[in-house]
Amino acid sequence: MLFWVIAAILTLGASLAVLLPLAGGSKGASSSGDHDLEVYRDQLSELDRDAARGLIQPAEATEARAEIARRILRLDNAEVGGEASARRASVAARLVATAAVLVVPIVSWGLYSQLGSPDLPSQPLSERLAKNPADSSVDELVARAEAHLAANPSDGRGWDVLAPVYLRMQRFSDAAAAYRNAIRLDGDSADRQAGLGEAIASAAGGIVSADAQDAFEAALKLDPANAKASFYLAVALAQEGRGQEAVTAWQAMLGKLSPDSPWRSAVEQALAKSGSPEIASGSTANGPGAGDIDAASAMSPADREAMINTMVAGLDDKLRQNPRDAEGWMRLVRSYVVLGKADQARDALGRAIAVFGADSDEAKKFTAFAASLGLTATE
């Protein structure tokens, strides 16, 4: 409401700026000839001042004075005619004036109704964050926590709370940074190290890198029963192609896990997958981050398949762009096999071999790998 009042006042003001001069009396105006004359007089007096100050030689001053005088003479010649056409145009003038007064409200309200969002209030961040937390969205709560931590960066507990939230929100590098801060400020714990490892691995698209592995190992050192760390270390084994060792590790885990552990199903799933020729393809090792997996398990089978297909397509594109990525090619081939797309798997294998050359070590590795998946390269 307030906005409309302001808008109306502004429109009124703008219209008055047009209206008042039109309604005002005609001010007497000098003709341009008079005007020029004044300018030349000024120049003459300036010249006299300069001459008096000795800035100009007397001879030059005389010459300049003659010059200005010539201009004044020329002015008199030019000053003919003009004044006649004043009255006859008053109808046209009135039309223009009316149009001008109408243009302001019509254009402004018309255009604004197309462009504006009058119902949307301003939303300064501080006001949004000052709202009752119960009304806030997760995003807003996170922003509030971030604002708090920006002001108190040494609040280790704050980082500890925020880190897993980041992980759920798939802000993996933020999560890793938050875990690191929590570890730095509040000391090591198995959960934090395992979380850090998961964040690093998820940021890398599910690949358990050396950094991530270090973190998981640190977690196991602190708590040998940490399920997340054990699980991911097994995934790492699977990714290195040591499938049998991974299976052993998972089986060992199953033995130790309590029956109601949330990890039980993940491990069982991983084991079920590793039973087939390729190893751990459906698990985190396949590329998507932990968040993707969470999302995928909540999906209908059709949606899940669509999601997996897009991810595989994404990987394919990435490899077209950066083809010298042997590990990536192996993941792609495996993914196509899992999806039951043998033709595409074969095609990918062919492309992979072409990139590195048929005689290269990588090509041999690819062929062996494909054979282990029950796939043969048909030339």
């Binding site: 005007h35 003038a93 590098s173």
Partner: protein, 663 residues
């Protein structure tokens, strides 16, 4: 608040339409009331644009992410100062700043132009209104800063880190004040063409506006150059980058305009040429806006790459440049030519200045646009860089610089070049001496370097000679001389300072290019490096956390002759997580007019760091000279003779009485 700003912007557009049409008809019909509309409309248009700008700035300051441009270019963790400067650190906001300045200047004409002939004033305001209407429409149609997001995101995407800098806070507003300042000269020229006559007060108005625009443009270019120097970490002050050229072309043309406007004001000569130059200068400003804003160029500045915007600005460009030049072709023959002069005279010198400057503008123009033309008409891609400009721009500038000290010493109408040369003997001898000393006694000085230094000294002393001669130095007693010096018109000081600044900038450029040294090496903590007599020790790399970035700061100590530390320097690699961007913060230590400049490279596996170190002698003079030039322009502006250009009120009333007697 946001929507109020949006509404005010739309309303300002409506007013700009009125401002275009009504005064123009008024002038045509000679109707006082219609013409009188221009003033109040221009002023209220400015007030509304200002309201709109304030609304946008407050949305930025309060991190209102329901505004799309805030979300795209801001972050809640940014320091408040960069939140505010972020308002114009992006395409939408900077265009709003552009029209804000345009309407501001328009309202100044309205406020202080009461002493202009009514029709001239009405036409000028109408042309200003037309430019404003075109750009308001551009903003509303293609780059509306008030586009909203619903629901609003909770966090923004951060301002490009290299733009989070105070230099950037100042650079675009200064540059725009310059660009847009020339719009006034343009409007006056087009108004004169519409009327078919050049008023005597025309030059008196155009010259101060040229000065204002030129002053700000000089500042904007100097600031931009300094920003690129310290922020990009390459240690260069000028890259002949197309975007730099885009601001340099109006500057060159504006410099020419400044000089020809003097001839026109003093001698009523070169009228048509000055008018054309005013049109060209603003056209080049528009071209600059187009080049930067359309994204046709690849450069750090091309953050806006939206083809509809490019086409829209191209249309504006065609409309205004084509329209004004067509008007010029139609009407120029009606304008009366001015007085005659001898080739060797102040006028002659200024014509020569114009010839060189416009030719130089043309070479920069060709060098900037040729690659675009080649790309448009063939499959080839070429780039035109420093070697081209050194070969074309350099040979044009050197003779011009050599001639500069002569200009102010020549008399109007008919000058005596030998007398001027005599007066410059001292400056010439000193420049020669400096050249010889440089060539003989400074190691590694090439002939070019020595001549360059000599040229700079010639310019500096030439500017001082001008002041000395005009105050009667050597001819009169010291007391009289001082009194005369103080009594000199400010514009004389303005000229001398501008030329002095030019000399200082030349000295800075020659010093940096010819005597600068650099070293690239990889260093471990504790190692020292020596460059041009300065010893630096690398203390080590220290991680640190900023408000919206983390950094590795490399600390260095400057070691004095005694072996103890006499100063500190540091350079950092910053990482901005929101944009996943790394930037380099260079370390600079100013020693007198020279600087040590260091920039950090990659960290090696063994813990060593690549360090690039420059010694840049006299480098600060490059921008210091720019400041002196600005001071010169400011002094010229303050010259009271520029303000008596139009009749004073008292006399005006008297003339109004006489004309009231007419029917």
């Amino acid at each position: 608040m946001v929507e109020t700003g949006h509404f005010a912007l739309v309303l300002a557009f409506a007013l700009s339409l009125v401002q275009t049409i009504v005064p123009l008809f008024g002038a045509r019909l000679n109707n006082q009331r219609l013409m009188a509309v221009g003033g109040p409309v221009a002023v209220s248009g400015f007030a509304l644009t200002a309201l709109s700008f304030v609304a946008l700035a407050s949305a930025y300051a309060s991190s209102d992410f329901s505004v799309a441009s805030v979300w795209e270019n801001s972050h809640s963790l940014q320091p408040l100062i960069y939140k505010i400067t972020g308002t114009w650190g992006n395409h939408e906001g900077s265009m709003l700043l552009w029209v804000l300045i345009l309407t501001f200047f328009g309202s100044l004409v309205a406020a202080f132009g009461s002493n202009l002939p009514a029709t001239l004033r009405a036409n000028v305001l109408a042309v200003q209104g037309a430019i404003g209407a075109a750009f308001f429409l551009f903003i509303l149609a293609t780059s509306n800063p008030f586009t909203r997001l619903n629901p609003a995101p909770i966090e923004g995407r951060d301002l490009n880190p290299i733009l989070q800098d105070l230099g950037l806070a100042v650079h675009p507003p200064l540059l725009y004040l310059g660009y847009v300042g020339f719009s006034i000269c343009f409007s006056f020229s087009v108004a004169a063409l519409i009327e078919g006559r050049i008023d005597a007060s025309w030059a008196r108005w155009v010259r101060p506006w040229t000065l204002v625009a030129w002053m700000f443009l000089t500042g904007g270019i100097a600031m931009g150059s300094y920003w690129a120097y310290y922020e990009l970490g390459w240690g260069g002050f000028w890259f002949w980058d197309p975007v730099e050229n885009a601001s340099f072309m109006p500057w060159l043309a504006g410099t020419a305009l400044l000089h020809s406007a003097i001839v026109m004001e003093k001698r009523s000569a070169l009228k048509i040429w000055t008018l054309l130059l005013a049109i060209l200068t603003f056209s080049l400003s528009l071209l600059g806006t187009f080049l930067v804003r359309s994204g046709v160029l690849t450069s750090v500045h091309a953050f806006a790459t939206d083809p509809t915007r490019g086409i829209f600005i191209l249309c504006i460009l065609t409309l205004f440049i084509g329209g004004s030049l067509a008007l010029f072709a139609l009407r120029a023959s009606r304008l009366t030519a001015g007085g005659l002069f001898h080739p060797i005279s102040r006028e002659g010198a200024l014509v020569l200045n114009n010839l060189f400057l416009t030719t130089a503008t043309a070479t920069v123009f060709v060098g900037t646009l040729y690659p675009l033309a080649v790309e448009a008409f063939s499959a080839d891609k070429i780039s035109v860089g420093a070697p081209f400009f050194n070969l074309t721009f350099g040979p044009l500038m050197v003779p011009l610089l050599v001639m500069v000290p002569f200009g102010p010493l020549l008399a109007w109408k008919r000058g005596d070049v030998f007398a001027a040369a005599q007066r410059l003997m001292v400056a010439f001898a000193a420049a020669l001496l400096v050249t010889l000393v440089t060539a003989l006694f400074i190691d590694g000085a090439s002939v070019f370097a020595a001549l360059g230094v000599g040229l700079a000294v010639w310019l500096i002393l030439g500017a001082l000679t001008d002041l000395a001669v005009k105050s009667g130095f050597g001819n009169v007693a010291t007391g009289i001389m001082v009194r005369r010096l103080l009594g000199l018109p400010r514009s004389v000081f303005g000229t001398a300072f501008a030329h002095l600044g030019l000399g200082l900038t030349t000295l800075g450029i020659v010093g940096t290019l010819c005597f600068g040294t650099e070293k690239i090496l990889s260093m471990h903590a504790g190692e020292t490096v020596e460059l041009s007599g300065h010893t630096l020790r690398f203390v080590g790399l220290y991680p640190a956390q900023g408000p919206n970035y983390s950094e590795d700061r490399g600390r260095f100590e400057l070691i004095g002759a005694s072996g103890s530390a006499i100063g500190e320097m540091s350079s950092a690699k910053r990482f901005y997580p929101v944009r996943q961007m790394t930037t380099t913060e260079s370390g600079i230590k100013t020693l007198w007019f020279s600087q040590l400049y260091l920039s950090l490279g990659d960290e090696g596996k063994d813990g060593s760091v690549v360090v690039r170190l420059w010694w840049k002698p006299l480098v600060t003079l490059i921008w210091g000279g720019g400041l002196v030039m600005m001071a010169g322009a400011a002094m010229s502006l303050m010259d009271r003779r520029l303000r008596v250009g139009a009749p004073s009120r008292r006399r005006r009333q008297a003339s109004a009485v006489t004309s009231a007697g007419l029917p």
